[in-house]
Symmetry: C2
Subunit: 341 residues, 2 copies
């Protein structure tokens, strides 16, 4: 976000040495009280005039409630100026059928997303929120419709969908988004792109951070065109919801998602290339150690240590190489376009 | 640092809502134990292969000792590969004759700088470390010589020096640096530049962060030229200390400092311009509130609240506008050159 020119105030919800996928970490979770105190401090110093808020991984229910209260307070203060505050909520709960937060976090998200402007669930999280099992295009559209209708969430992007789409290879992945109309009908679009055969970590955070920047940019760009005939510009419209006359493919959300995906695809491709070299090198080192073990030079402790090291090196190699590819963040080439569902 | 392409692992030493110059803040200091634990976690996950370390504000002596132990551990592991680890230590203690850390922090810094590769004191901090009062060019050179000799610090930059320099207006400021020779003699240069009549905060941190990037860059650029005749390149030389034959004005430290100052001058100029508009606007608002007070509409509480708000707005306006001026960080135009002392 900073490399794209945003002034960011980061409020950590954990202070960990590394992400938990490494298998070991040290550090502390931030308590609900500490989160609330930090926000109170920002208010005391008149540093709470945020245009946007992005919330991500919060490991427990009380801390998540504290984060939600911050967003609600910021929303309340923005009521008199529609469009002046926009909350992007990434409901981080799990992936591929597994929860990686406490069970009691799920109902808290169900309560909070009513106040969010844009949510970014993956397929599993969209299923948890909508209580619809996503298996094909029809159930996908059903899940989106439920989220708009039941929670009133204006904008949704489901960040990884693995159902088949006509006219695309079976191995393709897709991102599916929608901005609701004034009567909460979905306006859905999809962007289909080739899967990259590598395991990555940090993709959800990268997607969310870029979405904040690109959504705002798309709304600012689009408003002239859309409201040429008078009325408030889109950036001064509640929750940046486009007129009912705007087609799914012309939504600022669709334009923003195209740009985000373009950056993602470039960074993931480059990360995957570098990963292969790093892991081969680590494997060679581990093989030497194993050789020593079988020669009786070392013992099982050495072997398990080498395995642990290899695992850490793989985890690290999977972390997205963002700062080495700043141009891909700033000036991505859009290759994959939004299509009608 | 990230916007210049560095992969950074940040280890917070405080988690505050805002810097303490605002007059009020919330949040917590990180304990020595938490700092040590986080570093242990990085080691467990094989994430401790740092090329450089930058240490800055640490509010208490035990936490500073914990930071020092991290640097010493990283140095110990780099012994077999000279030049593979470089510690930039900003000995944040105070400014203009006032300490803003606990008194017992001073002796801890006197012990730690023996292990640092580059230190970045301001004039007051250089006086504390050298026990030399800096009043003119002679005492300035004396202070630098003491720091090289007594502590063996290879590189020093004194980041704000307010003594007169021949041939420059009396209102000028200067930065003075030196890389020691093999027998610990100073090789000093100065860069003189016009003072900007604004109060800023964050200048020390900006200077230090850019110095990390530019020092490394200058060492990598310079090594071909310097070691054309054979021997290890400068980047593989202990503490990146240039051959005794290298003149003060040709030091990588001098080239790095020129670039850092160029970025600083651009960002400070732009921050000062924006600051004036922000403060005038806030003053107008405060004047309206005062008018209401004198009309008996409000009471003293309102007045003191408005004063507090004005103070916060001034503090905020003084914060360097970094992310809005990324080009000034990346591609600064060097105007002020290193000169012989």
């Amino acid at each position: 976000m900073q490399s794209l020119g945003c002034d960011v105030a980061a409020l950590n919800t954990v202070h960990f040495s590394n992400h938990t996928g490494y298998g070991q970490w040290t550090g502390t979770k931030v308590s609900a009280q500490e989160i609330t105190d930090l926000y109170r401090g920002l208010k005391l110093s008149y540093l709470d005039d945020f245009d946007m808020m992005l919330s991500g991984y919060v490991p427990g229910a009380p801390a998540l409630e504290a984060v939600g209260q911050i967003a609600e307070d910021l929303k309340r203060h923005a009521i008199a100026r529609p469009g002046s505050f926009f909350w992007v909520l990434d409901p981080v709960m799990g992936d591929n059928g597994n929860l990686y937060v406490a069970q009691e976090v799920v109902p808290v998200y169900r309560g909070l997303i009513r106040h969010a402007d844009l949510i970014l669930p993956n397929q599993f999280e969209a299923e948890l929120l909508s209580e619809v099992k996503i298996q094909d295009v029809a159930s996908l559209q059903g899940a989106i419709q439920v989220i708009h209708e039941r929670y009133g969430v204006p904008h949704i992007v489901i960040t990884s969908v693995s159902i088949p789409h006509d006219g695309h290879p079976a191995s393709s992945l897709s991102v599916v988004g929608s901005t609701m109309t004034s009567d909460r009908r979905a306006r859905a679009f999809k962007i289909v792109f080739p899967a990259i055969d590598c395991y990555f970590s940090g993709t959800g955070d990268m997607f969310a951070a870029l979405m904040v920047v690109r959504m705002r940019e798309a709304v600012w760009k689009n408003q002239q065109r859309q409201h040429g005939g008078g009325g408030a510009p889109l950036s001064e419209t509640e929750a940046w919801i486009s007129d009912d006359s705007v087609d799914a493919l012309d939504l600022p959300l669709a334009k923003a998602t195209e740009k985000v995906l373009a950056s993602m695809h470039e960074v993931l491709t480059k990360t995957c290339q570098a990963m292969q070299a790093q892991v081969s090198k680590a494997r060679a080192v581990a093989a030497v150690a194993e050789q020593e073990t079988s020669n009786g030079v070392a013992d099982e402790d050495v072997e398990s240590k080498e395995n642990k090291k290899l695992r850490s090196i793989k985890s690290r190699a999977a972390e997205l190489r963002l700062v080495r590819h700043l141009d891909s963040l700033r000036h991505p080439k859009v290759e994959f376009r939004a299509e009608r569902m």
